[in-house]
């Protein structure tokens, strides 16, 4: 795993700058508490090295390891390998899962955003408790997106970058298309964004 000792005088293939870029990218993404956009790495790279290429190479190096480089919410982040979760959660505290009602409301907000609470209720055919909305807000998964110009001016809601992070999505278009949702239950957990192994 350790790069071979480099002799700066004998580096015809230009490996040294690439190894340096890989170390930088690794350190940068490791330290961050949010996904690192490629532009942030690009600022640190010498001309001629593309951040995306460096990230792809770094992801390949981490493939199969306990920690993996993933592409989420418009950036890159390290995440523990999903298969280790059952073991890790024995010693690392994990928050409670969202209740089903909250997941449903979240899905509706994700697909219909910006959407008002009455519209969510219309789709679900039943009222939505304030507590459910507040749960989503507290988790930082949704945010107000202005108000709808109808009587009462209800708030419009949309999803946040934190939503993408929570579900390992690169962007909203990683969600299954609406038409695909009914035709054969979308394959769970195999969507894009999880891992970047080539």
């Amino acid at each position: 795993m350790t790069p071979p000792p480099e002799d700066p005088g004998h580096d015809p293939a230009g490996i040294a700058p690439l190894e340096h870029a890989l170390r930088l990218a690794e350190a940068l993404v490791f330290a961050a508490d949010r996904p690192v956009p490629p532009e942030r790495l690009q600022e640190l790279l010498p001309p001629g090295l593309r951040a995306e290429a460096v990230m792809t190479l770094l992801a390949a190096r981490y493939a199969g390891r306990g920690v993996q480089l993933t592409e989420v919410a418009g950036g890159y982040a390290f995440r523990t390998a999903p298969d280790l979760a059952p073991l890790l959660t024995r010693v690392v505290e994990v928050p409670r899962r969202l209740p089903r009602v909250a997941m449903e409301a979240l899905a509706i907000i994700a697909y219909h955003q910006p959407v008002t609470r009455p519209e969510i209720e219309e789709i679900r055919g039943t009222s939505l408790s304030q507590a459910t909305l507040e749960t989503l807000l507290e988790h930082g998964l949704i945010a107000p997106r202005g108000r709808k110009e109808v009587p009462g001016r209800p708030s419009l809601w949309g999803t946040t970058p934190r939503f993408l992070e929570q579900f390992g999505l690169r962007e909203l278009t990683d969600l299954p298309r609406r038409e695909e949702l009914l035709a054969g239950e979308a394959q769970p957990g195999l969507g894009p964004g999880q891992g970047m192994a080539p």
């Binding site: 697909y111 009914l182 239950e185 979308a186 957990g189």
Partner: protein, 274 residues
Amino acid sequence: MTGAAAPAPPPEVLHVSLEGYEGPLDLLLELARAQKVDIARLSILALVDQYLAVIEGARRVRLEIAADWLVMAAWLAWLKSRLLLPEDPEQEEDAEALAGQLAERLAELERMRAAARWLGARPQLGQEVLARGAPERLLRQDRSGLSADLPALLRGYVEALRRAHAKRPYRPVPRRLWTVQEALEQLQGLIGTLPGWGELQRFLPPALRDPVERRAALAATLIAGLEMARGGGIELRQETAFGPILLRTARAGGAQQDGAGAVMPEEQSHDAAA
């Protein structure tokens, strides 16, 4: 026991309790799923019958059923009757279209449920995948800068003065009042330099901002002027009431020539009264 036939066992749907459902749409969706057909080819008529049967059954058990269940039941019953009647071109809304809208609502709810399941099945951050527990903040704070702008500076000044003012006991500003003696000296010093008529104001001490002090000085200068006019040293003149008061060094016979008295009528009456 053997008499009247035992009532037919209620259809299975009657055992469906409303408890487990989140409203009429949820139940309708469940009934639709039970038809095991593509939701687009749903039999709305069958669905309506099933829903009404469930509601009827539930009413037999409990009387109180939330209004929205009954509203849906009434609407579905109406929809069913419309669907069974021959199409009436007069009708504003076509029953088939309404049924289609209901099917679409159910399909959308089904889609959103599928989306929620899809999301729920993904490895979630904090559940199946974990982020770095102790991120490093590679930030250095530069606190050498200063956040201060002009409005804040001016506010500070006004507030300091206002507070200091409020703190001090009220002390009237001591007035510097121009005496008649001082006005006389000033007039005598200046009048010789004047070639012709000059306004009384020009003989006031310079830089008098305070309006009270300025009026006092004006009064003192007028009295000094009257005093000098009485001695024959100068002449005074005022064209109109409240007009500018002019004065100049007296000339021989000047007073009669100009036809203007040394003082205005009012001043004379004041003198008389005094």
